[in-house]
Symmetry: C4
Subunit: 244 residues, 4 copies
């Protein structure tokens, strides 16, 4: 079955994905080519993603790779990011997301390497992530030797099973690094930037007080809901996710 | 009762508050829109504050919001910062302050999340803050579910009860982050920058010597008074607070 | 026996070595003149290296020093880097390398000073270094008082004896700092940048989880081989070492 | 007795001291006005120092203050730095130094606040400082309440009594921060930059290995002497102190 869509929408998405990748570099979340952003055209089930291993300073919208949700290449002169099957898995399972980001940003990766979830230590965290930012379990040898990148997506989905992916827009993959998502590629990058800062604050927090535990549920609720609940009163009632 | 004031003074304050907000971004104390600065026109009991959730690069003086000390909007096309009731509480209780700043700066927030006051570990600290920078107790569930932002102001005032707010121009709100104040908006920002650096030095200090305690009272007195006492001999006898 | 080579090749190498030294400064791996890069013209057994103690901002290709592999100066108006005998030892022993870098970059040097190898805590590491980044044993008094810089090269070679220098393109010299190598000077600098970031992530990782150990061998194999093995599928099949 | 000197030499020194102060800011060792550099004209026993509390961006050579070694002002429209008596004490006691620097740079200050000398953990350290960088004992109440800034100089001199001030060109004043010196103002700033980096590396080193101790004496000797001994072979035989 052919996907039906407006070519203009796809081109706009390529621009958006390219710009979001550049924003990742501008925010210093990536060293060399260590990160990738994708976006999805839901009406056509097409994913747009960064080509593999191309330096950020050379990226242009027409270098973006287009695939269908089964991973077949539809457009593009380059190999897609090697993490493509992980992105695809997330789009298939998280129905309402519009963008996915993977980085090896320093502090978030350190938590992933430490195999420790980031507890909610303060309101900066609960403004964006409801409760802890989970760390997945390790993949098994079979999962690693099998369809590794897809299995990375599956362990993310499994770990998120009892959580609301809208309220927890990111995760740490054990031994690897963070993945985030959002309503569009730019918002997913925004969540990556926030996750990195939360990871940094949390590392300092536990170094200052080794016995610290997460904040009260009532405070978590208060901050999350004043920004995201239906009675939210933060910001100017537009583009709520990017405001404080 | 109508407030009587010179419109020029209000406009000048809007410029000052706008500039102080931009300085917060320039000094890298804020990520995205995570911070806000206000100022007060004491003769008219009017507070000028940053609008909520507007990116710093778009701020102009005429976007500043003007409120009376009961929180009624007097001028402005935007919602004021969601932290407005906290700022108002501080202006009502600390008679001589002219500016208030709230940020989520990394190191100060880490101490607030660790729920630990910053002891005075050296003369850099005592040049600006007399004795420790206190961390408030946590708010109760009732305070969080009630008038949350105003109660945040109240817990600050309560924690400062036995301290001189001129000698301790800032505080850590537990689980949340720092608030500072000063004689005007620019000076309050200056104190935020200093607090962040003190928090960073203190985190390193305790990591280098786990058993370290605060400095002698006599040294604390010496440094605080050589800059702030009536016999102060630091600087050029003008704009004393911003000198060393 | 006279070395036979094309003068153009030597000039191209001088440019490459000069540029690689400047890249070291651009990537903030060196303070003042604390680092040096060399390259080799294998067909002529000639090494090109930075002059000793010249500030980076003044370096030009014609200031590079040319030596044969016995350390005799062939061209150059300046003294070569004082670490020259270490570079020479590595070129003599590691047949296929084309560039060597030495720095005192902050985090890698801290691990070298701590006399601790950097275990492989995650896939960022295993994408570049197979298994741990070893720390050499200390030199003996005799080695220090003897031909010190050459003995530094020898302890590196000794420590690498049971490892593949292509799969472990760098090492920590105990009490001193990192050395890296690569197929050419630029690639050796790339490996220095990566090593510094790995050292930084690793320091944070062990601070977040004191009991953490290295990752599973199967994951190490997977990541190293998807970038470097004969069935590598990362990147665009060109310039593989610098891609992700 | 009138000091006899060439006015051109004094003017040149004012320029040098001004430039060295600006270099302190450029190297990010100071926040606001938290630091000062001085120089001395030995033939006239005149010290040139930064004015107190003037922002770095406004400094010009003619704003520098000139004093004799008893602290009498000879030239200048501004108050000298409040740390002037400390600088004077060092010039009086350390015969061959030509410049003095005081900062509150983050990492060096953290060690001073932790009241811990920085052991020599590696060759980066021993290239510049022979053996540990000492931390002074605390001043007594009498010393603080008396001629405080001069007593700060005296405790530095006392702590250096059994050390060679040429081989240990800096110190940590307990609870306060670092002082460094050198053959001229620029070299003293160079030593401040190096001290800050050594303090940063050392903090990381002890965090990576809590049981680490200083390096072998033989290695300390080797590195210090290859740069500073009479048979030094590092650099190009000019401006040796600033090379590697």
């Amino acid at each position: 079955m052919e996907a039906v869509y407006d070519e203009k929408d796809l081109n706009r998405l390529k621009e958006e994905v390219c710009e979001a990748n550049l924003e990742l570099a501008a925010k210093k979340l990536v060293l060399y080519t260590w990160g990738n952003v994708s976006g999805i055209l839901r009406e056509a089930n097409l994913m747009v993603i960064k080509p593999s291993g191309v330096p950020y300073e050379k990226l242009t919208p027409d270098m973006m790779v287009v695939l269908d949700l089964d991973g077949r290449m539809i457009q593009g002169d380059y190999n897609p990011s090697s993490d493509t099957p992980t992105h695809l898995e997330l789009y298939r399972e998280f129905d309402t997301i519009g963008g996915v980001v993977h980085t090896h940003s320093t502090f978030a990766t350190a938590w992933a390497q430490a195999k420790r979830s980031i507890a909610c230590y303060g309101t900066t965290h609960s403004d964006y992530f409801y409760n802890e930012i989970p760390c997945t379990p390790e993949l098994t040898s079979e999962e690693i030797n099998g369809d590794y990148e897809r299995n990375t997506g599956k362990v993310i989905v499994r770990t998120m099973r009892d959580r609301d992916y809208n309220a927890v827009p990111g995760i740490l993959v054990a031994n690897h690094g963070p993945f985030t998502w959002g309503k569009d590629p730019g918002n997913a990058v925004h969540n990556s930037v926030v996750l990195e800062e939360l990871a940094r604050m949390a590392q300092l927090t536990i170094s200052i007080n080794h016995d610290i535990t997460g904040i009260q549920k009532v405070l978590m609720d208060k901050h999350y809901l004043r920004k995201h609940g239906k009675n939210a009163y933060y910001g100017q009632k537009v583009n709520k996710e990017q405001q404080r």
